[in-house]
Amino acid sequence: MSRFLPPFQTLLNLTRAILLLGLLALTGCASFYVDTATKEIPVDAYQKPASPHPVQVVFEFQTKGVTNARATQYLAPQVLEQIKSSGLFSELKTTPVEGGALLSIVLNNVPLTDDAFGKGFVTGLTFGLAGSQVSDGYVCTMKYLAQPQAPAISSTARHAIHTVMGAKDAPANGTRMDSLEMAVKTMTRQIVSTALDALSRDPGFK
């Protein structure tokens, strides 16, 4: 039958197929899972200082160690609000504060799975039948200086987002999220809370 389709119809079908293939290659019918190993630590659990000080906060999102300005812009309001409500500081600003306390937060996205795009592309080419999973790692590093000349104390937390494409089982170590946006925001909240908790327990944090 297809041999007798008008040339334009054949063209249209082929174009649709190309678009569909490409979309599958790009989205791969993806589902997003936040790793279960790092959980959100409630604010009440932090070791709060007797008299909290004001702090200047600098947040930076990195991709493979390189500043990602757009992701920084996207996540900064959430991260700053979380630190503000942590109870660990009396006031939070993005400019120098009285006393000179400075908190740097770097959230670095590092790939845990080699050839992620290759896997996604194969899933797309097979219309999802050859499912695949890729994982993105995140390392949150906090560095706190109580005063400009004081020694820095630091804390680190790790997390991961697993992306499953096509026909593949959900990862046993993941909680399914409705969207990538929700996955990123949930991961960020959990990893920042973990790093903040570790920082609050450092004997040098006063």
Partner: protein, 199 residues
């Protein structure tokens, strides 16, 4: 023979065009604005060590000797990287400098010392093997009407670039965007700048 056949077949030509269109739609062909400048912790530390006085920030513009296009957009695999600050990379550099100086407590709009800048270089190349980006500016510090510092500074970066546009383009944009803080860090580290603008 195949080429001749394709030329003679309007359907195939149209298919090629549509396939190209579909690919373009999928890969973006879009304007990619850099993220708004955010303070760099590294530059706050550099500023603290620099021993320099607070400064005002004057005008920034394209250097008269530079190609006009470098201020307005950078073409990357059919996408165009643009500045979110007045569509000008010179203005993006100015805003990044203000942001870093403010975060370091070294910005004072009423200071008798003022930094101005001229964008001299801005490139981003994302081929299939090694990506490359560069950024340059001539910084001029004027104090009480007298130029006390006038120097061109340049920075660059190279990185492994993927053949997959979805990976290579954002990576290139990040590498290029990071150069703005690197360039300001170089200014803060510059001994001539430190000598020209002491506390």
């Amino acid at each position: 023979m195949i080429v001749a056949g394709a030329r003679s077949d309007p359907g195939r030509r149209c298919l090629s065009a549509l396939a190209g269109l579909a690919f373009a739609a999928l890969t973006g062909c879009a304007q990619l604005p850099l993220g708004e400048p955010a303070a760099s912790f590294g530059n706050i530390e550099k500023a603290g060590r620099s021993g320099t006085a607070p400064v005002a920030v004057g005008s920034f513009r394209l250097d008269p000797g530079a190609a006009p296009g470098i201020d307005t957009g950078l073409s990357v695999r059919s996408n165009v990287v643009v500045s979110p600050i007045q569509g000008s990379f010179a203005q993006y550099l100015r805003q990044t400098l203000i942001t870093d100086l403010q975060a370091a407590g070294l910005y004072d709009a009423a200071s008798p010392s003022e930094i101005s800048g001229f964008l001299t270089d801005s490139t981003l190349d994302v081929p299939l093997d090694t990506g490359h980006a560069s950024l340059g500016a001539r910084f001029v510090v004027v104090r009480l009407g007298k130029a006390v510092y006038d120097k061109e500074l340049n920075v660059s970066a190279s990185w492994p670039s993927s053949f997959v546009g979805m990976e290579a383009i954002p990576s290139g944009v990040n590498q290029y965007g990071a150069l703005y803080h690197t360039l300001i860090g170089k200014l803060l580290d510059d001994l001539d700048y430190q000598a020209a603008n002491p506390k």
